[in-house]
Amino acid sequence: MTIAAPVKVDSTGPNTDGYRSFRLGEFKFRRDEYFVYVEWPTGKHVMSADSFLKALQRDVAWQFFYGIVNFDGVVGTVNHYGTVDLFAGRYNDVYRKAELDHLENFSTPMIKATFDEMLDDWTNAGFDPFASPTETGSAFGIKHGDNRAAITRHRVTASRMVSVPGDEPLRNDENGHPVNRHFLDVAQDEPEKHPEPGFDGEISSFNLYAYLSRSQVTWNPSVVSVCGDSLYCPTTEEYILPIIHGNDRVEWFIQLSDELIWQVEDRDSGAALAKVTMRSGDVAAMPADIRHQGYAPKRAMLLVWENADPALPALISSGQLPSVPVEI
């Protein structure tokens, strides 16, 4: 076992708008009132600070997630589960053909520490990158305060099932989870449990829909039940998924309520492949060679179903397993 050296984040003091600038290898990041600027040896890019922070928030909170987190069509990260690639133009056909793309690999602690500090410094008071647009203030302006409580929220990861004794607790008004304005009609009844004497703690059942109606965040899949490597990761969705997720394994969507529209593109080139409209009860697989971004006109409950088996990315990229879950 090796002990990791303490991570030193490479950053400058505040600029005239009050924001620090950051470096990761040959990548440079800075922000001003409205925008984030990314530079690398062969190119530069600009994003809205609002979009950038929403993407950065998820990348950090999800520990770089499964596969590729595209902040937009140009910049993003690839998780290698121990190290992370930071890239610009790598999954964009035009940048690739022009040979303007750039990719560097970092240890996970290095990029995580840098992204953590960037998110902390660039998130102003009143702006919650996890909230829907109508439930938060603005990301813009010269630096004013911070929002540490919002950006360091606890991420739910049940080890067996939410509500099982000792596992992730239920949500209620008292613990800071009021019912969301779009879910006021969702029944809050709990299942009727009738344990026999001596089996009180062994009968576990909870209202998942009520639990989701009390989610304070959007587009944040969180584990509620675990069967081996099979993880149920439901989430509530409103407006647009702030990242474009590139798969390194098959992922499944089960629409529990309302409607989502998915734009599906080729993972490596960005070429458009399909639009998937999902309504309550619909089930769809996202193949391992695509990327997808979701749109939700009303806050909706989506069950994201993952297989966390760490062997999958190598089995799929080497061709030992297909990109699709079922061959018909």
């Binding site: 059942s205 829909y209 039940s225 099979s230 089960i254 619909d282």
Partner: protein, 167 residues
Amino acid sequence: MKTYTTNFGSLADFTKGSIDIIDDDPKRYVFSNIFEVASTSRPYEKVAVGKNRQYVVEAIRAEGTSEWRTAPHDEFALVMDGEVEIRLQKLGPDDTAATAERGSNALKGAPSGAMMGRVVARRGHMTLLPVGAAYQFHADKPSVILLQTQDGPDTVHKWADIIQTVA
């Protein structure tokens, strides 16, 4: 103020979405609808609607009383429509234990271990079916369960019948 209506769908009332293809094969998305599948299933038929290697999610039409089943791992039953009573009982020494490497198998009759209890679960309620126990479902009216489990001896794979195959 606008009031919002949350649409969960049901056996009696669901509106399936669709895949609009630009340049792909719709079969790759294995697109189905749980209520549509359950509306044509036999009671307690375990129809896979999702599969990721050894893991499956099954759409189950709950209607009447099921057989007793057990599995060598936890399973999770989410009621998506109707009301289902879930009865839990420990296996006794003479009962058939879990026989498959994964997924559930039926018992011959009722188990003989201690009664653990029962749950009355309605729409949105998720219940742990714990390893080491047997379970039985009962529904007075047709209901729908989504089961998180593994691909077992009674999992039904009829993909070509349930998924969207043309653009």
